[in-house]
Every structure is written in structure tokens, then in C-alpha cells.
């Protein structure tokens, strides 16, 4: 270090600044995107219509929601603070946009903060929401524990807290109004029910291989549990092999290869805890020389765009939706709470399921 000359030191400072600037540029983009309410509202409206097209079954409901939010928007404008986990996947990005748009579309003011997967960022964001005296706080906790103090502060300041997508592990449930998120167990059940229904005419044992998510993560535990719960009543369904693929394509492919190597020709069904692993596994199956969706039925969860592409190409059978677009539902809940309604502590997101036949027409309307 002692040999640093002035010029080199300047060079280093320059490099460091470059890094910092690029980082800032990123977050500025996000901030400006959310603050320009007037500019974004036109584009988001078109988004919403395509969304209702996608959810045919929910069409009527979402329209009602739209009307309801418009009426309330004229009566009362809320300031809502939203602390998101980060931007770790397509799913999360879609979730962030949905909540942001729903809040601004309903005419409320949004304070957005990205925690970048760090709890301390999230706690300080919530504290700043409290000091700004927002009307409601929405947050997706990075981890389950350690939020007691800051949530107590929010309660003392009389600010209602809404949990989105992820739960907290705190005994005192008076600290938040409600938890709106996907029911992972239900997703596992849906996957199993589709399978039981689809293979009803099949004779003999049905061998299933399972690609689990990241060990210990809530979706991995619950999707396994829900799936096994339904299959417990149907003894002809046997899970022969189960291994973690860490929710990634690379690992999904590698683990599927080893499943195929040890027992390739006897596998009837693949159940993957997310679509990405299923997509990786499809490649492994093709390389092994079997036809995905025909020789081996493929079930995924999440309903990301890649799954629709695979289904449209006839390589995947079904995907259970894990819906990130619950912004409108969330805003409706916040408004209901403000209007004095009692809400349940746990509310599940409205979710669907998509098969191969629907994939082609829905492909273009998928946002994530």
C-alpha cells in the first residue's frame, strides 16, 4: 500500500465511483418508475386488462375489484409503504410490479423500498415508514424471525401491517392485520389431484420421481407435504426417488439425469417443485432419448412463462399457478381494513392451474 502514487490512487477512486454510480443508477430507475404515477397509470391499465384475459375464471371478480377501488379512490387517498424482499426472480419482479401498480392505480400514494434480501434494510425501511406516518405498511419479510420490535413500533404508532407472500414466525398475531400469500400445501394437493385424475385409467403401479426445492424452504416442504397427502389415499402411486434440485434449471437437469440413469425406463411421472427444474429435467429426458410429456408426464408449479412455452411445444403436461399478481387483491384488503372490516389472519391468493391445451392461447398474455 505504501507504494501508491497519486495517479494510481485516483484511478482506484475512479473505479470505485464507477461501481457506486452503476448501483445508484439502478435504484433511481426503480424509484422514478414508481413515483411517476401519472405516466405509469396509462400503461398499467392495459396490463390489467390482459391480466383479466388470462384469468378467465376470475374475470368477473377482478372487474368488481376494479370498480370498488375506483370508488374508494375518490373518497380517501392512502399513503402505503411497501417493503419488498428484493428482485431475485422473474416471479418476484412480477409480484413487485403488480403490487406497485395496484396501489398507484387505486389512486393511493406508494412509498417503495427494496430490501435486497437483507433484514436490516427491511427493518430500517419499516422504521422510516413509521416516521413518515404512512397509513399502511405492506411487507414481504426476508426471514421469518426478528421483526417483533419493529412491528411493535408500528402497532404503537397505530399503523396497520399487511404481510404479503411470506409469513413471520411471531406468537403475538395482533402485530399484523393479515397475511396474504400463496398456500403452498394447496399447490401440492392440486398437482397430486390432477395426476390422480389424469391417470385414473392406468393399470398397475405408477412410478413418480420428485425434484424438491431448496432444502428447508417453505415452498419445498409444503409442496411435498400437500402432494404426498393426496397420494396417501392412492396406493398405486409410488414416489420412487426424491432429491433436491435447488429450484434451478442446472440442478434439475443434473438430478433428472441421475434418476434416468438408475431407473430410466420405469419412470412414469415427474413432479417438480417449480417450473425451472421441470424445464431442466425436460432437456435431460430428451437427451436420454425419451419423449417428455408422453413417456414421462411432467408436472410443474409456478406457471412461469417458460413453462407455457414448454407446454405449447408439447413437452410439459401441467403447471399449478403460484400467482404473484395479487396486488389488486391486496389493495382491496387494505381498503376493507381501513373501512373497518374484520379480516382473517390468513388469506390465500386466488390461484389457477394450466394444462397443455390452454398453453398456446395463454402464452402471449403471460407477464412473467
Amino acid at each position: 500500500m505504501k507504494n501508491i502514487s497519486g495517479a494510481k490512487f485516483l484511478l482506484f477512486i475512479g473505479m470505485a465511483l464507477l461501481f457506486i454510480l452503476t448501483a445508484c443508477g439502478n435504484s433511481n430507475d426503480e424509484a422514478s418508475g414508481t413515483n411517476n404515477t401519472n405516466n405509469t397509470s396509462t400503461t398499467t391499465e392495459t396490463n390489467n386488462t390482459s391480466e383479466t384475459d388470462a384469468n378467465n375464471s376470475n374475470e368477473a371478480e377482478t372487474n368488481e375489484e376494479g370498480n370498488a377501488t375506483e370508488e374508494e379512490a375518490t373518497s380517501e387517498k392512502l399513503v402505503i409503504g411497501f417493503s419488498q424482499v428484493g428482485a431475485e426472480s422473474e416471479w418476484r419482479t412480477a409480484n413487485t410490479t403488480s403490487i406497485q401498480d395496484a396501489i398507484t392505480d387505486a389512486g393511493h400514494e406508494l412509498q417503495f423500498s427494496d430490501a435486497q434480501q437483507k433484514q436490516e434494510n427491511q427493518i430500517s425501511a419499516i422504521r422510516s415508514f413509521i416516521s413518515q406516518e404512512v397509513d399502511a405498511i405492506v411487507f414481504s419479510p426476508v426471514v421469518e424471525t426478528g421483526f417483533e420490535t419493529v412491528l411493535q413500533e408500528a402497532k404503537d404508532a397505530d399503523i396497520p401491517v399487511f404481510l404479503a407472500d411470506r409469513a413471520v414466525d411471531i406468537e403475538d398475531d395482533s402485530l399484523w392485520v393479515t397475511f396474504l400469500g400463496s398456500d403452498f400445501i394447496e399447490e401440492g394437493r392440486k398437482a397430486a389431484e390432477w395426476l390422480v385424475d389424469d391417470m385414473a385409467d392406468h393399470e398397475g403401479d405408477i412410478n413418480i420421481v420428485e425434484l424438491q426445492g431448496t432444502v428447508g424452504s417453505a415452498p419445498a416442504i409444503d409442496r411435498k407435504e400437500g402432494f404426498e397427502e393426496i397420494l396417501a389415499d392412492h396406493s398405486q402411486f409410488v414416489i420412487t426417488q426424491s432429491q433436491t434440485g435447488d429450484f434451478t434449471r442446472t440442478d434439475g437437469k443434473e438430478v433428472m439425469e441421475s434418476f434416468l440413469r438408475s431407473d430410466g425406463d420405469n419412470i412414469d411421472v415427474l413432479y417438480a417443485h417449480n417450473d425451472d427444474m421441470a424445464i431442466g429435467a425436460i432437456q435431460a429426458i430428451e437427451e436420454y432419448g425419451l419423449t417428455p410429456a408422453e413417456d414421462i408426464k411432467i408436472i410443474g408449479i409456478d406457471a412461469v412463462k417458460g413453462a407455457f412455452e414448454a407446454m405449447a411445444a408439447g413437452k410439459m403436461n401441467v403447471t399449478v399457478e403460484c400467482n404473484p399478481l395479487f396486488g389488486p387483491q391486496l389493495v382491496e384488503l387494505i381498503e376493507a381494513h381501513m373501512a373497518g372490516e374484520e379480516l382473517e389472519k390468513r388469506i390465500a391468493v386466488e390461484e389457477d392451474m394450466y394444462t397443455m391445451d390452454q398453453a398456446k392461447e395463454l402464452l402471449d398474455s403471460r407477464e412473467y
Partner: protein, 346 residues
């Protein structure tokens, strides 16, 4: 024989392969499917290719008493860059130009990251672990910037050849690894460069005084490491035909360091063993394959890996081996030693 640095790693590798044989008698069988040679051994080589590549680069870095924590991020960046270039060329599979452009830019970007690391370390004097940590964190950000935070799927057929194609019945990635390994072996063992690298790792000051350009040697090994990581990134993203800024190459730097250490190269720099590193990387890959084929519970995978690594490291340590052999023969030796001492004191 047992004196050779390669002996104990080879023993562990052999044991792992034998365990596989017990669980799956057809483990060593290589048959022809769709005109390609397939089998578990081929698979281990194919799957291990990215790790071997990175470990080769890492060996030279560690030989200069450095460390490169940025390689995992470089994998993500390289894959993201390639995907960015070939994206939008769907259906247009006959033109090969986008493929070569993607390879050139991805590898160019990776070499640039190596240059960045090398500059920070050799010219500005930042400690390697700190300097490369910057890239480890920032690189993933850059990768996500390129992919827009999404997983990019690649529909451009020729790109899949790098990590999924076959040449003369063998996976193409094996040829890439063999080529890089041969170049590294030739340059470090048939020219003076290897000696220079070892001397810089042993004592940078003395090397500089004896006329070796230490700074340029350091710069070069980091560039080489970046280059290796870039190629590995191409193989990994090509294999699954997608680029994932978040997860591609995650924790690869740690596996690579482990492979280097298992291979017998000391983290204190100086002497290095490229073949040892290759065996180390193969051990890690075989371990993963073994875990899948034995069907170990997902919850205990990490624990099993840790135990195996611990055993390898203990076997590698001469001190530990001396203690163990001392334990077995202590009952006979101790009285004799006492006798000698007693005699001397007289």
C-alpha cells in the same frame, strides 16, 4: 508411490467410484446411445468440466499466493453476455455469426474482469481476497443487469453445442477442458513461466529482485482465471440453454478452491499441481454423482459432503498420517524411545 502428491487424492477418487459400483453394478459400463458414448464415467467428466476449468485457473492464482473469489460471478456474467447476444436469433439457426460473436464477447468480458482483478491486486496493491470479493458481489449485479433480472431462455440451436454437443461420440465440453488443460500444462511445465509463478508465490520480493516481473505474472494469472471462468460460464449456460444471473455458478469459487487444496496445492502459494487439481475437481463431481445415485436424503447432502472433504484433507496431511501410524505402533516404540533417552542421559 505413496510419496507422490497424487497418491491420496487418487485413492479417495477410487474409493468413491467403488462405492458407486456397489450400488450400481453397471456403473463403469459405457454404451452407445443415439450414436454417443454414454455412461456414468462420461457423465462425471461432462458435468465436472466447468469445475475443472475454473479449478485450473484457480490453481495458478493460488500458486501466486492469491485467491479469486470472483469466478462464480464471472460464470454468471459470461452466460448472461452470451445469452444477450444470441437472444433474438431464434429460428435463424443456420447463421453461425451470432454464435462466434457471443463466444468472443463473453470471453472478452471474462478476460476483462480478470484484468480488473489483476490491476487492483498487482498495480494498486489491494489484497487478493478483498479485490476479488468486489467482483464476487458486483459481478452478479452486472449479470442481472444484462439479463434484466430474468432467466433468459436461449432458442438459438447452435449455442447448445458448446455444453451439450458431441464430437467424435464424446461431449464437446470434455475437449474444451482437455485443450485448456494441455495449454496450461505445456506453458507452465515446458516453459519457464511455471517456475516464475511458483517463485512469485514463494517470495514476490526475491523474484522481483532476481528480475522476474512479479506484477505482470500476477496480472496474467488473474486474467487466465477469468478466462477459464468465462469458458465455464459458456458451458454451463449452453448446457441448459438459459442464462440465470442469480444462480449460475453460485458457490463455484468455493468448490474450485477446495479442488485446488485437495489436489495438494498449498494456499500459502509456491508449488502447484495442475493434475492434482483436476483429480480434486473430479472427486468433488464424483461425490455429487455418488450422492444422487446412492439416493442420500436431500437434508444431509451437505453434511455428507463435508465429512468426505474432511477425510480427504486429513489423508492429505502428513502430520495426521504420522500421528495415525504412530498410534498403531506406539506400544512397541515407546519403551524403546525411553530406553534411548535413558541411555543418553547417562
Amino acid at each position: 508411490m505413496t510419496k507422490s502428491r497424487l497418491f491420496w487424492p487418487l485413492v479417495v477418487l477410487a474409493i468413491l467410484l467403488l462405492i458407486n459400483l456397489i450400488y450400481d453394478p453397471s456403473f463403469f459400463v459405457i454404451d452407445i446411445r443415439n450414436g454417443h458414448l454414454t455412461g456414468s464415467l462420461i457423465n462425471i467428466l461432462n458435468r465436472g468440466a466447468p469445475l475443472i476449468l475454473i479449478s485450473i485457473g484457480m490453481t495458478l492464482v493460488i500458486a501466486t499466493k492469491g485467491i479469486d473469489l470472483g469466478v462464480g460471478s464471472v460464470i454468471a456474467m459470461s452466460g448472461a453476455m452470451a445469452a444477450f447476444i444470441v437472444d433474438g436469433n431464434l429460428g435463424d439457426s443456420e447463421r453461425l455469426f451470432p454464435l462466434f460473436l457471443a463466444i468472443a464477447l463473453a470471453i472478452g468480458l471474462s478476460a476483462a474482469t480478470g484484468l480488473w482483478n489483476g490491476m487492483l491486486i498487482s498495480r494498486i496493491g489491494i489484497q487478493p481476497i478483498v479485490a476479488t470479493l468486489i467482483l464476487m458481489v458486483a459481478g452478479r449485479g452486472v449479470a442481472q443487469l444484462i439479463t434484466g433480472g430474468q432467466i433468459t431462455t436461449i432458442y438459438y440451436e447452435p449455442y447448445s453445442f458448446i455444453g451439450g454437443g458431441y464430437l467424435f461420440m464424446l461431449p464437446f465440453s470434455i475437449y474444451i477442458v482437455a485443450f485448456v488443460l494441455c495449454v496450461a500444462l505445456y506453458v507452465t511445465r515446458r516453459t519457464a513461466l511455471g517456475l516464475f509463478i511458483e517463485s512469485v508465490g514463494g517470495n514476490p520480493l526475491a523474484s522481483r529482485l532476481s528480475g522476474i516481473s512479479s506484477k505482470n505474472i500476477v496480472l496474467m494469472v488473474y486474467m487466465f482465471s477469468g478466462l477459464c471462468a468465462g469458458i465455464a460460464g459458456l458451458i454451463l449456460s449452453s448446457n441448459v440453454a438459459s442464462a440465470d444471473g442469480n444462480n449460475a455458478g453460485l458457490w463455484y469459487e468455493l468448490d474450485a478452491i477446495l479442488a485446488v487444496v485437495i489436489g495438494g496445492t498449498s494456499l500459502m502459494g509456491g508449488r502447484f499441481f495442475l493434475m492434482g487439481t483436476v483429480i480434486g475437481a473430479l472427486i468433488i463431481q464424483t461425490l455429487t454423482t455418488t450422492i444422487y445415485s446412492v439416493g442420500i436424503n436431500a437434508e444431509v447432502i451437505l453434511l455428507v459432503k463435508a465429512v468426505v472433504v474432511l477425510i480427504v484433507c486429513l489423508l492429505q496431511s502428513p502430520e495426521f498420517r504420522k500421528k495415525i501410524s504412530g498410534l498403531f505402533s506406539s506400544s512397541r516404540k515407546t519403551p524403546k524411545d525411553e530406553g534411548v533417552n535413558h541411555h543418553e542421559s547417562l
